[in-house]
Symmetry: C2
DNA sequence: CAAACGCGGATAGAAAATGTCTGAGTTGAT
DNA sequence: ATCAACTCAGACATTTTCTATCCGCGTTTG
């Protein structure tokens, strides 16, 4: 059970975008994080389809958050990249074999699936409690108040 | 982010084993659940290596739980099959690019990784709170008290 | 010894993740 | 109007993982 590396990229990009004044091109985001531009572009498009970022085309285009960083949770980003499918997929093997569970019982998910879904709900709740703004605050606490000043400078001049 | 289908098989097998009197062969477990014997055998070997089940070789061999079903959590089974690696793998891209995070800061994981790990801890805690015995109780509640009687009968005669 | 069983490795196809490339369309500047 | 920079969508290639099968080997019981 592994999460795509694109999730890490996308969350980092959202933190950067939360500090930017205008649209930031994919090229710039890729350079800043030292990752492939073309592949990052895929993930940014997923964020765009999910409505988390807006893309502006043309000469001075790029990506910008569609709402304030307080209103974007880590869960939003994870779901945009990983999809909304639960990690556990019940194949109803209780209906197989010589003693299959019958129709009426199977109206609700089996106990195993319920336990798995409950755990995923707890996971999602934990991720929903952290916003991109929280992450940005954490970066400043970890690395100093000058970090985002330098970031904005690099984004402007680069 | 998807969980292997083997997890579902393995948990179902543990519930069956919790109701068995003696060792149950892989062939029997596969027949009961209507899945491939050779592939299920792989997962049973993983459970064995993780110490959740004991295998008896030879003519009347098979698998049996090593401890009581109360003492085996769903998390134990999931970790045995999926491995103990966290789903989120931080590649430290904050150390890349024109403004890399420096060594001292990177002594502890970045805020993004911390949020991800916290969510996985919540997920694990939820799974750890459910035992195989709880699942067996749930099956009886869902399908009636005769279910496991019939199961034991099929295991004995089959 | 033969039959039933678990164990480990080798193998292979399918699916998904990862990464690249190209062409079309859009926008601002000259 | 033209050009350059940029996004977007999709096609394509590569690599890894999942799923599944098979075989040989050692073990145990009858």
């Amino acid at each position: 059970m592994k999460m795509s590396a694109g999730v890490e990229w996308a969350v980092h990009c959202c933190v950067v975008l939360s500090q930017a004044d205008g649209p930031v091109p994919a090229q710039r985001l890729a350079d800043f994080h030292g990752v492939s531009r073309t592949y990052l572009a895929k993930h940014l498009q997923q964020l765009s389809r999910a409505g988390l970022v807006r893309s502006t085309e043309g000469r001075v285009g790029g990506y910008a958050l569609t709402r304030s960083a307080e209103e974007i949770s880590v869960l939003d980003v994870v779901l945009a990249i990983e999809g909304r499918e639960p990690a556990f997929r019940c194949t109803e093997i209780r209906q197989n074999g010589p003693l299959p569970a019958t129709g009426e019982v199977c109206r609700r998910p089996c106990g195993i699936a319920r336990a798995m879904y409950a755990a995923e709900d707890a996971w999602r709740a934990s991720l929903a409690a952290v916003s991109v703004a929280d992450l940005a605050t954490g970066v400043e606490e970890d690395t100093g108040a000058q970090t985002f000043v330098r970031l904005r400078g690099w984004l402007a001049t680069g």
